[in-house]
Symmetry: C2
């Protein structure tokens, strides 16, 4: 319980002595290096167990210049980040992949607008071997700071236009098309869209795919509102749509959170879903399946994208060249609303 434990942690030196070998040999055995003779290796292993030896990270780091840790940088404030189940799933995908290889995950919340100084100090401080950038917004000065860091970085989600960087993502454009096609296929010809934050790649792409397919199939786009990917944003967007008096019979909300917000407002306004308006979301978060919502949506394999970002980052750290990864398997999940 005391901060100063009674027994100072055993060092490699102690292990070597106990095993009757040199420190170099002990080091080799501990790291699982090849070139190890049977008897001596055994002796070292035994000593490691007996003494409860665990390598000192700092000492190892100092010479290898690597930390076995990676950072998850999230340019959002604390409450915002976890209120969207999307983040939860992303983090789950990342941590699970990382646990397999015993790398540590540092969680860096970089409150938007906070000024990137703290982050700059961090990324230059040699804390981590690489970074995953989670919810990035175009034009965020943080992007510059991170890009200048000396460790590899991969974006979770396509980076803003003009920025070439490694990333893993789903095919959001295709997702937008899928949504549009489905609304068309259930007979809707006057479509509306609640889009996400225009400074995020996912929003831009889903919108583009949706508009494209509407044009191709000959459906009319009656209205577009922005909902910022949040529940309340979705409600507000729906209110504006309702007040505008514009009539439409199909609605695509670019994520489920906004879709659920929209659904509530539609209910409140006495609009029947899907009879009057067919509604489709995006992500398939858990609550989308609640009987009360029963939201038709596009399944977003977020967890697998998370795992993919880790794979990319590990390769980048190892110096292996890779291209961005697009995780396939966007699928339509049919429920009640469309």
């Amino acid at each position: 319980m005391s901060p100063n434990s009674p027994h100072p942690a055993p060092t490699l030196e102690a292990v070597a002595r106990a095993a009757g070998v040199s420190r170099a040999t002990a080091s080799r055995v501990v790291r699982g290096d090849v070139h190890v003779t049977g008897p001596k290796a055994d002796a070292v292993h035994r000593a490691v167990v007996d003494l409860g030896y665990v390598p000192n990270r700092a000492a190892r780091s100092l010479v290898t210049r690597s930390t076995d840790a990676i950072a998850l940088v999230v340019p959002e404030s604390g409450d915002r980040i976890f209120s969207d189940p999307f983040f939860a799933t992303a983090v789950a995908g990342i941590t699970e992949r990382l646990a397999l290889i015993e790398k540590q995950l540092l969680l860096i919340m970089a409150g938007r607008g906070e000024g990137p100084d703290r982050i700059r100090r961090f990324v230059h401080g040699g804390h981590v071997d690489g970074m995953i950038l989670l919810s990035h917004h175009e034009g965020d000065p943080l992007l510059e700071v991170l890009a200048e860091a000396s460790v590899p970085m991969v974006h979770f989600g396509r980076p803003p236009a003009g920025r070439t960087a490694l990333f893993a993502d789903v095919d959001n454009t295709e997702g937008g098309r899928l949504a549009g096609r489905h609304l068309f296929s259930v007979g809707r010809r006057r479509l509306a869209l609640i889009s996400g934050s225009p400074d995020m790649g996912a929003a831009v792409d889903r919108r583009a795919g949706f508009l494209e397919v509407a044009a191709t199939l000959g459906a009319e786009i009656c209205a577009v509102e922005e909902g910022g990917f949040t529940l309340s944003g979705g409600e507000a967007a729906m209110d504006r749509l309702l007040r505008s008096g514009r009539s439409f019979d199909g609605l695509f909300a670019a994520n489920d959170l906004m879709a659920i917000g929209a659904l509530r407002r539609l209910h409140a306004a006495g609009v029947r879903v899907p009879d009057d308006v067919a509604l489709i979301g995006f992500d398939d978060i858990a609550v989308a399946g609640d009987p009360i919502n029963a939201l038709t949506t596009i399944v977003n394999p977020v967890q697998r994208v998370g795992a993919a970002t880790v794979e990319l980052l590990l390769d980048a750290i190892a110096g292996v060249d890779r291209s961005p990864v697009i995780v396939r398997d966007l699928a339509l999940r049919l429920r009640r609303t469309a």
Copy 2:
């Protein structure tokens, strides 16, 4: 972009040379030590900026034996952890307090039943100066492993009975009383309870407070079901309550997630809330305030508890003796359901 940046990071040695002082002096200035003369200190500061010097953590760590990082250990699987907004808020409270002092947060998910070996290696590896244990369950073997670690630990929430440890928490017993008193005060005399996981302190205490006040005031406890603190657990508990045929007019669900699950089932069963059954939850998570739920609940200052765990831990690391902290200000939030 390359893992080997062209310019090797400048060392303290380089700064010292550029400033025309010794390494020791440069070190003192960089660390903001007292004993710094004007001119030399200025020269060092200038050199730091010019060279873009950032101290090497590993080297510093090696000698100071501290890491400026703390771990948040969560004995839950990835999906589970973030699906309860309670966690989100707790994490927000912790990260925000930590950001102020530029300490790093390592997120350690220790999937329940995973076997504590990976964690054992971690806590003995000298990665962090201390730990915060988030959602601990009584009897979890992980607790033993963590308690043996050589760094201080503080529990987020009262530890299981019999375990003496530093913690920060709200007064859950009082919260249970508050809930009971309120139901009584709105005229309910036949009460039911949906409790949390019995291996968690918060569940035990809320239940105890609720039962105590019922006994004191002379209200009858008609039924108790366990809901495991999850939404679906709350639904299932409500189903059992309904099927049991037991009649009651007041219901306390030990967290909002279960309360919302219960509310849905009550609606589905045609039971009017609060007319037939008055319902009160605990936590005041964001969705509790949604018009669709309008849940009367006990406001749980989770974020402040999070900040308090950090304070306690920092003191413990500094060797300052502290007692567990109970954050006051549990308050009743009146909405529609009770």
